[in-house]
């Protein structure tokens, strides 16, 4: 067991640190969370900056350890989050890289890396959430196109996306998992209506997407027709693997800020609060170690993150909620004031046990796939 880095990795870290120190002060001010076009421009601009400096492909081509260092250092330096580039860099991009044709890779991957195009993920539907394979959005072949009708929901960044990685049902008669196809849908096609949904935190982070006979060229299909479920599983395992590395670093920083705030306002004198922080510090230290463990396992065992990701996701989503509950204790009555730091974050943390597979679904995955318990139902 070794927790040290190689000289090359340390050099990568040092170079990155130096570059971040130079470039971050030159960035424009962060846009308001409600101004989506500005957020899009800001997030794409950051990706372009990374691209020009040679860091664009770190999510895809670098070794897991290099990626870990990249995410750790960018977060530590306070660099912008992937934001609107999330689906492109962490879902759709890796899926296309793994399953797309040479032509598809050439068409879609460079604009993602250069910060030119935003992707969104159209998987969930009103009647297909945890039970994603129940999705009903229909697509049928008409000449060189698929014609798509149905509706998607909870689609993050839909308002500003250029492309949507879309799951559709192409064979309603086949067993559920065998009649699904993965399409790249241009968001400016006719027949698409996007209706933003306001989250409990007040901003519009996701949307409903209504599809009325939208024509998608058959050449936009990634993988074979009716093989979309397998293609999707590749994407989801990416999402549950490395997507949260930067967030753990961020949470550890917040924990330190909260402790200092508590010292300033006197609440640190309360041993109950202090001990709670001690426990959270233990938790986030361990989550960081689990991240390193999973990354090492990925490095020795191949590209797709393994089942350690479910263990991580379960523990992390809960820990993040505990963190912001502790923030509320530091704030005292100010915890009810939306203009105070951490209050909005506390609201946002509520989505973590739901998005990307609820905690209940994750537990079932752990029980059935890792522990080998008999399947329920």
């Amino acid at each position: 067991m070794d927790l040290s880095y190689t000289p090359e990795e340390e050099e990568f870290r040092a170079r990155l640190r130096e570059w971040l120190a130079k470039v971050l002060p030159t960035l424009p001010a962060k846009p308001s969370p409600d101004d989506w076009p500005a957020r899009r421009a800001y997030d794409l601009g950051w990706q372009r900056t990374l691209h020009d400096a040679g860091y664009a492909e770190v999510h895809w081509d670098a070794s897991p350890t290099t990626r870990l260092i990249f995410l750790e250092e960018t977060e530590r330096a306070g660099a912008p989050y992937v934001g609107a580039n999330f689906v492109g860099l962490l879902h759709a991009g890796p899926t296309i890289a793994a399953e797309g044709t040479a032509g598809q890779r050439a068409r879609w991957l460079p604009p993602i890396l250069r910060g030119e195009e935003v992707w969104c993920q159209g998987f969930s539907e009103p009647d297909a959430g945890s039970d994603l394979a129940a999705l009903r959005t229909r697509a049928w072949r008409d000449g060189d196109d698929y014609v798509v009708s149905g509706s998607k929901i909870w689609t993050s960044h839909a308002e500003v996306a250029d492309w949507c990685e879309l799951l559709v049902r192409t064979d309603p008669d086949a067993p559920r998992h065998r009649g699904i196809t993965w399409l790249a849908m241009p968001m400016d096609a006719d027949g698409i209506t996007v209706r933003p949904l306001r989250t409990l935190a007040g901003s519009a982070e996701f949307a409903e997407v209504f599809l009325d006979e939208v024509r998608v060229p058959a050449g936009n299909r990634v993988g074979a027709e009716n093989d979309g479920w397998r293609v999707t599983m590749v994407t989801l395992s990416f999402e549950r693997g490395t997507a949260f590395v930067g967030e753990v670093v961020a949470c550890r920083r917040v924990l330190g800020e909260l402790a200092r705030a508590a010292r300033e306002n006197g609440r640190w004198d309360d041993p109950v609060l202090r001990r709670r922080f001690g426990r959270l510090e233990a938790e986030f230290r361990a989550l960081w170690r689990l991240t390193q463990w999973n990354v090492s396992a990925a490095e020795t065992g191949g590209g797709v993150p393994g089942t350690g990701a479910s263990v991580f996701k379960l523990r992390y989503s809960h820990a993040r909620q505990e963190l912001y509950d502790a923030a509320a204790d530091v704030l005292g009555p100010d915890r009810l004031d939306l203009d105070r730091p951490w209050v909005i974050d506390r609201l946002s943390s509520l989505s973590y046990t739901i998005a990307a597979g609820t905690s209940q679904i994750q537990r079932t995955i752990v029980a059935e796939r890792i522990l080998g318990l008999p399947r329920g139902r």
């Binding site: 067991m1 001690g278 510090e281 361990a286 689990l290 390193q292 379960l314 318990l373 329920g376």
Partner: protein, 301 residues
Amino acid sequence: MSVRFQLTDDQRALQAGVRELLGRCFGREALRAAVAAPGRLDRALWRALGGAGFFALRLPEAAGGVGLGLPEAVLAFEEAGRALVPGPLIATHLAAAAVPGAATGETVVAAVDGELVEWLAAADRVLGDTAGVAPVRSIDPLTPLHRINGTAPAAGPVRTGPMSTDPVAVLLTAAEQLGTAARVCELAVQHARTREQFGRPIGAFQAVQHLCADLLVRSEIARVAVYAAAVTADPADIAAARLLADEAAVRGARDCLQVHGGMGFTWEADVHLHLKRAWVRAERGGGSTQSEELLAVRLAG
């Protein structure tokens, strides 16, 4: 080439070797025999452990030791915890350099830890100040206990001993807790697979599945915390490891008990032995309070 935070082949071999050894010297029958003879320390077992290098593991080879490090010690103590090996293992291990005979298993060493001493009567040497010591009826049938200040609540400063001042003692305790955590997870899963109710294995019921999933999640997060602390030997990492390992062992044993139903409440099932030992270990090294405060101080700077 990079962070290799995984067990090496040698470490895996050591883990398997210790498990095999303990399976031979301290299998289920020996465990139940020990439960039936409380307070008796099996000297033959102790010498066997000594002979296998359990106590001399971290002594330099020049001093007749095995010359391995904390990560290897943690793996060995995880196995001991999993097998519920009785005796003052950690005190003897820590005394390997200082107390003659400890390294080989000839001398059994106990040590004061806060207000408690485990295995005082059976030990050849007791480290720390034992004035005013009195036996208590131990909750764990496999760990005889003495209380230092008698049975009255502590007045004045808590006395310390070598067990409560050395962070390595806390780390090795966490390793033992990890062994229990992993073991109770296995026991729960085994039972859930085989016990049938309503015409199917209870492990097909989601409520049971989710108890088992949480058992695994807790033991796996504790595992990385314990292993990382063994690599860094940083007191804050050790404190974190103990908090996660205590939780994984204590809550794990309780959930395992729940999965076993009425069987879990019996003396016959091993679950209670894990729970009781986990409670005893959780008391060591100042308990969770000390670790929480240490981490809080690190945090607030």
